[in-house]
Symmetry: C2
Subunit: 225 residues, 2 copies
DNA sequence: TCAAAAGTGTTCAGGGTACACCCATGG
DNA sequence: CCATGGGTGTACCCTGAACACTTTTGA
């Protein structure tokens, strides 16, 4: 049975992570400076290789936590990129993921010594390889997820105001929303529940804090904003 | 620069194709009998390995045309499947695709000597590996595509009646549709245009034949049925 | 007292859904 | 002449969009 496999080629398998976060109220990407050829010294998506003993998802998780120190980052596969010459150095098939990092974790975002920086989506440097295509596909997928699944909460603190939530949806969708209509829609999403807490940091009056209720969502896994 | 790569593992990279077609008016999958261990002799998705000199998509195309003799089959990536033990024989990361085969090509579907057969979606044999997960994801992706992109025409002859089109959408969506509402919706999809031809094979009266107009779609790439 | 963000209802139009009958033709 | 699939229009409801003012309170 092993000669069946051994007559075929083995390829390097990589992962590349499109890490989304909010910075200065703008949807941003976390990039690193490449420390290897090709493209050494240039800004790039965070990537790595899949080892024989780990799954592709595990490799992506590892890459994310090596960079940020965080575990349990929300992550979703974007797809495999397998053009022959996508990496000029070697034949590498890469699986792209997108990840969302919460404002909660602002401090611990990037580990010491990692040469990484957030770039607003409209001020990205020119990227090499097929990274621009990965980012485009990741964005599309992410926007779709946002409308149909409770994904937004991965970019927000555990508790958030409705203004924060709306502002997030406006940022992601790239359009301003009507406050009353937005709140009406939120009101009939059962898994978004109000807490007893008031946030006084952003306004004199104070704003009710809400949270995403996992249990309610599991009972009724529909979501549409 | 090469030692940067060489310190990492190389893995077998495979492709698996979820081939959809219509048979007896039922959505069906084309499966083959595996000719190698593991799982030799069992029904399985059609698969193959990605060679060093071909892209992942090229490998999938090759596998499809080896099986069917057809080129230019509509094909879409489903995603990478990379669990460590997904293939008990060796470490293989596989990229799943779904493909759609038209009634047009009914005759040449399967090349001589290929041990392949269509199975209705509800009468699939028990499949090994992670093939059931691949099929589930492929179905979801395919259904979404059907509603938002002109994908249906890959499963239909070049010219088709509105009844055929409706029946296809009913099969894919798994629900019956109202004839008048369906036709109303079709009527305001500019890229579905009526031809001068009448199909007399399915009814005494005869039914107008329509076609998908590529040019019109390019001008106005919106699609919603 | 005023600035700044939070909070709150109603109206209207357009799209989607439900629904039933006549038409054309070959056998 | 009749069986079979092809083709057509309307009424209603409900969702989605537009729209402006009051409340609270810290400075």
């Amino acid at each position: 049975m092993s000669e069946f496999y051994s007559q075929h080629d083995r390829l390097y398998v990589g992962v590349d992570c499109v890490i989304f976060g909010l910075h200065n109220g703008e949807l941003s990407l976390l990039l690193t400076k490449r420390r290897f050829e090709p493209e050494m010294g240039k800004w790039s998506l965070i990537g790595g290789f899949v080892g024989r003993g780990e799954s592709v998802e595990e490799a992506a998780s590892r890459v994310l936590s090596d960079l940020t120190g965080l575990n349990q980052i929300y992550m979703e596969q974007v797809g495999a990129f397998g053009a022959v010459d996508r990496d000029p150095g070697e034949r590498v098939v890469s699986v792209a993921f997108f990840a969302l990092i919460s404002l909660d974790d602002l401090d611990s975002e990037v580990k010491e010594g990692m040469d990484a920086r957030w770039f607003g989506l409209n001020e990205l440097p020119r990227l090499g390889f097929d990274h621009p295509a990965m980012i485009e596909k990741a964005l599309k997928k992410m926007r779709r997820k946002f409308a149909t699944e409770p994904t937004a909460f991965n970019l927000l603190p555990k508790m958030f105001t409705l203004s924060q939530l709306q502002s997030l949806y406006e940022t992601i969708g790239g359009e301003v929303l009507d406050k009353r209509n937005f709140r009406k829609r939120v009101a009939d999403v059962p898994c978004i529940v109000s807490t007893e807490y008031i946030d006084k940091t952003t306004s004199r009056r104070g704003a009710r804090l809400y949270k995403f209720d996992e249990e309610t969502y599991k009972l009724n896994p529909h979501f549409k904003i």
